[in-house]
Symmetry: C2
Subunit: 445 residues, 2 copies
């Protein structure tokens, strides 16, 4: 039983039958590139749509494998790729400047691009999307955000009937792995070491821990969801590196735990409140329940409420599934992009609206510290919600926590500058937003 | 800044600019229909793509509202709709036979259809998809499964690079509301009454509670994920109505809770293991954490692992977002469906593979009951994992639980027939599969 002759729609009638497979060139044959090649080789149902023609890698000789079709050309010469006139180039090399040049060249020739490169796209998305539009080419980058979670396609397609207002996500698997280990009692150093041992974390985990990796991904999600381009450098980040085991003890007392959250909320006129950093989340929330290296994204719209997506954030095969899904999308005859998906207007990162905060101090104890802190807060019109001090800590490194009612970040910043100028700190205070229960929309009953 | 002239791709070059909006006729002006009309009215960015031309309802005079464009024709005559030559008919009426006739008529004339009607699609999807294919029309039904969760589009598009093997979901919000209230200590009757008071449950909740509603949705998910058509009547269902407060007490002792799960797993050659009914799930799983009327679907593939989607399962606005997203998809020039999306080969529901089970007995106590049960189980080569009996129950309605190691449903069925023939039961035993921890894929660490 076949309906191949029947399936094409409108102006593409008949095209499905006569179309040749798209010629796909693969740039990069590391973990992800190999997994892409593996799927394209194994999925015989895709063979009449996608044909891998070239594999590019530095030192290609040592990369060659015997399970790829003999017709595949192995090369370390990018010009050879372009001269072969591929339909799509898959970029899974990494880095920014070199792939930027390649992707520009490909698009300029009308060759579509699928990339897993968040840094490239976060740096150049508006230009690359516009270039693609002028050349009848496509740029897709599902794999650049939350690997195995098809969040970009979901926003553009499955949720296109809504008007999205908010995206909150756990976008960095390494941080989530570390923080969920710490929830279970591990130390920061121990959890980071374990993440490195398991291959989740780089030898230099700065980009993960300090939030720059998640900020690049958040920039892409804001682009797709709000069609506003935020420069990664404009998104305020706070590191999780100052989070200590004691913070999990206090978080638990407050009915929560700690996760690195990337948050973006559109004001409807080009402003986007955006930030990345540790946040106190309710222990019953889907954020708290998201454990290990899993990613999770919650998208909220004016009409449909919150929808949550979770799955593998990285790894060769989940990332390769995202790449192949993009290839399948491009292989559809008459495949088309919404005008709005190709134009990201410049967006402005605006100051956070009033939020409750968690403030943790580590002090050399002496009389008057709490009075000094509460006085600085009250001078900025910030109301204190609770002061918590667990017993059993040494007087020269005494941790305690102040939670405050919703206040503007600017007011809090002013108060904390005053507090930090005092001499009683054994280490700098930790400041985290508290995500109130009602914002854990997927948990409402 | 605009790139409208640049955005059309390939054979549709220029179409975006010259295209007229799709003429949309709305069948049904209840909660969902009104929400669809509301979104189409408020989303001015969709105005050049989608134009609501007709609203059809019985007793249309009392349905008329003043916030819709004066150009909209209000009618209770379906022929008038078809004579107006709409591009798309939105069917949000409900029922099966009457909308089936309408949808067939529309498709036969080449008019595309968007429907929220799970019973219609579960009964007639293969025929309607094939009919649409022969007429260059589309049938989309995102709203028919898990309202606000864009799971159908995600499977067809964002996860198209994977080869899906398994779909497990909480697809009935009423049951989930009831079971999560019972987790918190409510009785079945109390929870059902509350669901009815809040409008989640029908006056006659049979279709929800007994699993027929979820089975129809599971049939559609299996069609989309595996391209195999399962008749709803072939999917075995077990009711949640026999679940008692005591089951939550035992579930808790076993580290879990109870949810109505719809499960489908493809064997790769046309067989699909499928079932709907109460299941014991790990208390840390996303199933257990899914509370209230929320829906949740976990999709697993050979390459990408598990991806989980959750959100509002019903409600006017979330369902309307799904309808409008389908309309937006159809409005894309050159919009195209994969051949495979239009052909669901007949599938066969196959017997469940070996699973662990939870068996709860309610007996009039007398000597030898446990021996009788364990003997029947061992005669079917079923190994007992644990026998649990909580104190404090009357001897004439004494509940206790036996958990067994993985066994085939057929073997269990034989053993339970033997057990049920005994005279000591105060009510029929409850049998539930146990979903092992490793199947809660999204929770792995």
């Amino acid at each position: 039983m076949t309906t191949e002759v029947n399936v094409a729609v409108r102006s593409d009638a008949g095209a499905a039958k006569t179309r040749k497979p798209l010629r796909v060139a693969l740039l990069g044959f590391g973990t992800v590139g190999q997994a892409v090649a593996r799927i394209l080789t194994e999925r015989d149902d895709l063979r009449d749509r996608l044909q891998l023609t070239h594999v590019f890698n530095r030192g290609i000789a040592r990369k060659r494998v015997d399970w790829l079709s003999a017709s595949v050309v192995w090369t370390e010469d990018f010009d050879e790729i372009l001269e072969s006139r591929p339909d799509v180039v898959v970029e899974v090399v990494g880095g920014v400047d070199i792939p930027y040049g390649w992707v520009r060249q490909a698009l300029s020739q009308g060759v579509s691009v699928v990339t897993a490169n968040k840094l490239l796209m976060a740096a150049h998305a508006p230009e690359l999307l516009a270039l693609a539009a002028t050349r009848d080419a496509r740029v897709r980058f599902e794999a650049a955000v939350a690997g195995g979670v098809p969040i970009i396609d979901a926003i553009r397609s499955g949720l296109s009937g809504d008007r999205l207002t908010r995206v909150v996500g756990i976008l960095n698997g390494t941080c989530n792995f570390i923080l969920s280990r710490m929830t279970d009692g591990d130390s920061m150093a121990g959890a980071l070491g374990e993440a490195q041992r398991l291959g989740f974390a780089e030898a230099d985990p700065t980009s993960d821990v300090d939030g720059h990796d998640a900020a690049a991904k958040l920039s892409l999600l804001a682009g797709v969801a709000f069609r506003r381009y935020l420069r990664t450098a404009d998104i305020p980040t706070r590191s999780i590196s100052s989070i200590d085991a004691v913070d999990f003890r206090y978080a638990k007392r407050l009915g929560g735990t700690i996760r690195q959250l990337a948050m973006a909320e559109a004001d409807g006129s080009g402003g986007v409140e955006a930030s990345v950093g540790p946040a106190l989340v309710d222990e019953t929330s889907s954020f708290a329940r998201n454990r290990g290296a899993q990613n999770l994204v919650m998208v909220s719209g004016r009409y449909g409420g919150a929808t949550t997506f979770s799955g593998e954030g990285a790894g060769g095969h989940p990332t390769a599934v995202a790449v192949v899904s993009d290839l399948v999308a491009i292989s559809r005859p008459g495949s088309w992009q919404d005008p709005g998906d190709l134009v990201w207007e410049p967006g402005t990162v605006i100051a956070a609206r009033a939020r409750p905060y968690y403030l943790r101090f580590m002090v050399r104890d002496r009389p008057g510290i709490v009075a000094s802190i509460t006085s600085a807060l009250s001078q900025s019109d910030i109301n204190i919600d609770a002061v918590l001090q667990e017993p059993g800590f040494p007087r020269d490194r005494l941790p305690f926590v102040v939670t405050v009612e919703p206040c503007l970040a600017t007011a809090l910043h002013a108060a904390m500058q005053e507090v930090e100028s005092q001499g009683f700190h054994a280490e700098p205070p930790v400041v985290m937003p508290v995500v109130p229960r009602e914002e854990h929309a997927a948990q409402k009953q």
